[in-house]
């Protein structure tokens, strides 16, 4: 009799199984759902000059009466405000655009890297993987600061280009969207490379040989076999880059200057400059909804495809 069967029989077994299942749910509830509920609650509150800077606050000493009073004080004022001001919509749209384009650029840069890694001799691969992960060993903030030194008017890049004689006057890169793209591609490249590498690494080489054998050129074999079979890695990589890039704050504020409008910066300003926590929370909730929607749609699509394949 296997352990599985034992766990399934009797009360103790059922309890143990329930506990096992409960642990991940507890984790999710504690660290994902609870913070979201708190943010949602703040977004329905009103801003005041106090600590904390919103009202109503949850007061357990007044019992049920207190909770009821709190719910009565909730309203959607902040969401209405959001939808009426153009600034927010433009910030959302601009963030999505920048995130989408930089995801594409990261894919274009990351795929060849992952491909080359998967084709490298077996004993080299751990070293190459290490190199991809290496940047994580220093602080994200410091690495973005380093790019300011590279991209600035007197930065290394301009000095290098002038030294090469390609340009006479320094290029203005820092403080433009171009710098933001460079920063995002640089910072998120490992998140693109690693899932693509893992799907390419699993790919059976004899499939490529079979494709060649059946009359494909190398390019056709790549397009008809390698590419579709690495699609799960591509999709995972794109989601891993796109989602954090939409809400990115550090890169646009350090490299993008005032001309780059992104929702992460707006959020920061509302929180810390205006101290309007309820409005900032509303911005965050809407951002979450904007991101959750495409993910859910994608999952539905993937499931439907899976089911169609099984028919």
């Amino acid at each position: 009799m296997s352990d599985d069967d034992k766990a399934g029989s009797g009360f103790a077994g059922r309890l143990r199984r329930a506990l096992l299942i409960a642990v991940p749910y507890l984790w999710l509830g504690l660290f994902f759902l609870a913070p979201f509920v708190i943010v949602l609650k703040i977004s329905l509150s009103d801003s005041v000059l106090a600590i904390p800077p919103y009202t109503p606050t949850f007061d357990p000493s007044r019992g049920w009466e207190g909770i009821a009073a709190m719910f009565r004080a909730f309203d959607f004022e902040n969401y209405v405000w959001l939808s009426e001001d153009d600034l927010y919509w433009q910030a959302y749209l601009s963030s999505l655009r920048i995130a989408a384009l930089s995801t594409l650029l990261t894919l274009l840069a990351g795929y060849p890297i992952a491909y080359a890694m998967s084709r490298a001799p077996e004993r080299w691969r751990p070293i190459l993987l290490m190199l991809v992960i290496l940047p994580f060993w220093t602080s994200f903030l410091i690495r973005v600061y380093a790019w300011m030194g590279i991209l600035g008017q007197n930065g290394y890049l301009n000095q290098f280009l002038i030294w090469l004689g390609l340009i006479d006057t320094p290029l203005v890169i820092l403080g433009t969207p171009v710098a933001v793209y460079i920063g995002i591609v640089y910072a998120y490249l490992p998140f693109m490379v690693l899932p693509i590498f893992s799907s390419l690494d699993r790919l059976d080489r004899s499939l490529i040989e079979a494709a060649l054998d059946l009359g494909c050129s190398r390019l056709q074999a790549f397009w008809l076999v390698t590419w579709p079979l690495s699609r799960p890695g591509i999709i995972a990589g794109c989601l891993l880059v796109f989602i954090p890039a939409v809400g990115e704050f550090v890169i646009p504020s350090l490299l993008g200057g005032s001309r780059t409008l992104m929702i992460g910066k707006v959020l920061w300003d509302e929180f810390f400059a205006n101290r309007d926590w309820p409005l900032a929370s509303a911005v965050a909730v809407v951002l979450l909804l904007i991101l959750v929607l495409p993910i859910l749609l994608f999952q539905r699509h993937a499931e439907r495809q899976q089911r169609r394949a099984e028919e």
Partner: protein, 386 residues
């Protein structure tokens, strides 16, 4: 084993010579002193071989002897370290795999996991630029051939191992190449389906004139289907010949032992005259008397090989048999149509004897511990000097 023997293609003078015996015949594929090394390991060692148009050529040999490597070189996935591969007289080595008129069925099947069974089969046809109608027709024909009509829309991970093997076979056959390389194409099929597919392969070959090169671990399969068999060992060809030659005239202990069952008796030649050898093999036992073309002077150590089915068992010594000894039945193996007797003969030597079951088991002539005579005539065995 008798049933497994192919109709001898070299039978008599009626037909023209088979191409491999005709010195004027141009081979379809010629391997010239081909060597393949992986690092300092030699997988194929100085191998030369001609394969002719329309042949059904079987590669036989133990695991790791280089059969797959040989096929991969013909398909174009490995370049020989030395030597040349010619197709119709032209050097094949610089031609990339997709330009060779060769299709290979992979030992690992290598089915495309993201495509359905039908799309896997259609894959090569689409690359060949066939019109859609013809592709659909060809795919349907292939599905029928491998009996997978009902699985056309499944993915490879949704079918069984044997079904996958059939898809791989269908995919390789679909393009109707001049040369088909099949790496253990039928290993995972049940006996009945295997027999049917063997029949179909022979039929395809006769209809389309395809040249088959097939790796198999199943001797019976090689015997029934092949025009010629190559027995390999450690990257070398040990013997190349028709099934009949390989079975009846193995050139070495290795081949005799590898193909079918055989009794190998070591002894010393004590007399040699007029193509007749007398071999002493056990003290106090009559010597083996056999006809042989082998030049083995008196005193040579030789191995005498005799197939189990060439030995007869009887309650009394048969009259006029050149070789007959008495022994004790140690074990009986029942194989349905045949019985295998393990007989302990003179000097404790064990002999395997196979004879057809003419009666039901309950009324078998002999049983355990019976003392019997076993005998064979002068031409039944073979002398190997290697």
């Amino acid at each position: 084993m008798d049933t497994a023997k192919a109709p001898p293609p070299t039978s008599d003078a009626s037909a023209a010579l088979p191409p491999w015996q005709d010195p004027a015949a141009e081979p379809l594929i010629r391997l010239e002193n081909v060597t393949k090394r992986f690092g300092d390991f030699t997988a194929i060692a100085d191998l030369s071989l001609d394969i002719h148009e329309g042949e059904f050529f079987a590669l036989l040999g133990p695991s790791g002897c280089g059969k797959t490597t040989l096929m991969r070189m013909i398909a174009g996935f490995e370049a020989p370290s030395a030597g040349r591969i010619l197709l119709g007289g032209e050097d094949l080595v610089p031609v990339p795999p997709n330009r060779r008129p060769v299709n290979m069925m992979f030992q690992s099947y290598a089915l495309f996991p993201h495509l359905t069974v039908a799309d896997n089969i259609a894959f090569g046809l689409k690359r060949a630029g066939l019109p859609r109608g013809e592709i659909a027709e060809r795919v349907a024909e292939m599905l029928r051939l491998v009996q997978l009509e009902n699985f056309a829309h499944r993915r490879p991970h949704e079918i069984s191992g044997g079904q996958r093997q059939r898809v791989a076979l269908a995919r390789a056959l679909a393009r109707r190449p001049r040369i088909l390389l099949l790496d253990e194409p039928l290993a995972a099929l049940d006996r009945k389906l295997r027999a049917a597919t063997q029949f179909e392969l022979v039929d395809i070959q006769e209809r389309l004139g395809t040249t088959f090169i097939i790796v198999t671990h199943d001797q019976e399969e090689a015997m029934t289907m092949a025009s010629r068999i190559a027995v390999m060992d450690h990257g070398r060809l040990v013997q190349v010949g028709t099934p009949e030659e390989i079975y009846e005239q193995p050139n070495s202990r290795y081949v005799a032992d590898f193909i079918g069952e055989v009794n190998l008796v070591e002894g010393v030649v004590t007399a040699a005259e007029n193509g007749r050898l007398v071999i002493d093999w056990a003290e106090d036992a009559a010597p083996i008397v056999t006809r042989s073309d082998v030049a083995a002077p008196v005193g040579t150590r030789v191995t005498f090989a005799i197939r189990p089915e060439k030995i007869t068992v009887g309650a009394e010594a048969p009259e006029g048999a050149a070789n007959a000894w008495q022994g004790r039945i140690e074990d009986i193996g029942y194989l349905g149509n045949l019985s295998t007797y393990h007989i302990v003969g003179p000097a404790g030597r064990r002999f395997k004897v196979q004879s057809p079951n003419r009666r039901r088991v309950a009324r078998r002539e002999f049983s355990w511990e019976d003392r019997v005579w076993f005998a064979f005539d002068e031409t039944a065995g073979l002398v190997l000097t290697e």
